[in-house]
Amino acid sequence: MPDVKVRHRQGTFSLEADISFASGWTVIFGPSGAGKTTLLRVLAGLITPDEGRVNLAGKTLLDTSKGIAVGPGERSIGFVTQQSNLFPHKTVRENVGFGIRHLGRKARGQRIAEMLRMFGAEGLADRRTTQLSGGERQRVALARALAPAPQLLLLDEPLAGLDDASAHDILARLLALNIRVVYVSHELAEIWRIPGDVILLEGGRITASGPLRDVLAPRRDELLRQLSL
């Protein structure tokens, strides 16, 4: 199981979190600016916090007290954000194959086809990424992140801005996978559809965690006001 204990200051914002993630899906929920993305970036190794440690499946990825900091590429973590971040000069096939160059040509081709099929994007392989719709871009981004078979998938509002049909279809495909996921969102309507525990993050602090209903019910009115829903 991944677990993380971190203390990080960025300007006037400070993040303090001590989390043991459950297997399966964990949702990190909270208003904008709560530190959700910072937490994911620490997990991914894109930010080295002032203090802390990150363990994943028994392996220490970060321990500032011992000077351990495994690079993002060696963490076996996939990371997809709202922006997709597809490489604009490469085709869909080249994007999905970017992280599996170590595989032979044939195995790589099979893996790319498998990943695209998994997200309903098998017809897009030869398209330029600049020709894709928002939903298609996210399907390709997810296929690319999962191609190297990571142990943990970090999703930072991956469905934000997509039409309902695309968002619903992509989420259903993700839920069908057998992989640990940490899912960040500030959309209440979105997280009701996701099973697993919820961690409520506010102002850089974890204020509640557990099953969704237990976390949100006592503070429903306050949260709805905060989120302007």
């Binding site: 991914a44 894109l46 690079g71 993002p72 590429g73 060696e74 973590i77 996939g78 990371f79 954000t81 922006q83 971040n85 490489f87 604009p88 000069h89 970017f98 992280g99 160059r101 690319r144 992140a145 190297p148």
Partner: protein, 222 residues
């Protein structure tokens, strides 16, 4: 028209441009990604030739390449002739003089590539070399073309450094700009005019190609 000088000038500009791209790409990459404390010093040194009088650079190069330094003596033993007053010496001088014209656009191009793409590449296991080869270079093609065009035209037009370390040896170090100087000294204004027009033409063609490429959308810059 001094065709020998024209050919020498084009050859010097071509070789210098190739050398500067080969040196400038790794240097600009390092400048664009490093957090080393001495980065500002390296950046200042690479930019210095923009501000220095060419004669100052030429003077120190002349001393460095000459027989009074270890480097100069070693180069002479290695090549069988002194670097000063030779084509190879001109290439070294031109490369140093035009270094900022390669490094600045390249570093600006690399820095303009969306950092989120680089992070994604790192997450997918790409090391620095692959990020350079697979992302930064293809996404900075316009900056590479700009750097090449600027290095070429700047080298075509240089005078001070060439005169200091190359002198005025026909076929070896006499470039078009030196030829113009000689023609003016001889009061051959018509010849100087023709040579000058050729220099203007070469530089103009290179810059038109550069800007044409930019407006043509023939770039994949991010």
């Amino acid at each position: 028209m001094d065709l020998q000088a024209l050919w020498l000038t084009l050859r010097l500009a071509g070789v210098t441009t190739m050398l500067l791209l080969a040196l400038g790409i790794p240097l600009a990459f390092w400048l664009s990604v490093t957090r080393a404390r001495w980065r500002p010093l390296v950046e200042a040194v690479t930019t210095l030739p923009l501000l220095l009088p060419p004669t100052v650079l030429g003077f120190y190069l002349l001393v460095l390449l000459g027989p009074n330094t270890g480097f100069g003596r070693a180069a002479t033993r290695l090549l069988g002739h002194p670097l000063a007053f030779s084509f190879s010496g001109l290439v070294i001088g031109s490369a140093l003089y035009s270094l900022p014209f390669a490094v600045q656009p390249l570093a600006a191009g690399f820095r303009a590539v969306d950092g989120a793409l680089i992070e994604q590449a790192r997450l997918l296991g790409a090391g620095r070399l692959r990020i350079l080869a697979d992302l930064l270079l293809p996404l900075s093609t316009h900056s590479i073309v700009a750097a090449a065009a600027l290095c070429f035209t700047h080298t075509v037009g240089e005078f001070g450094v060439v005169l200091m370390i190359g002198g005025d040896i026909p076929g070896a170090t006499r470039t078009l700009s030196i030829a113009i100087y000689d023609q003016v000294q001889d009061f051959s204004y018509a010849a100087a005019n023709r040579t000058s027009l050729v220099l203007i033409g070469v530089s103009l063609v290179a810059l038109v190609l550069l800007y044409w490429r930019r407006t043509d959308g023939g770039t994949s810059d991010a």
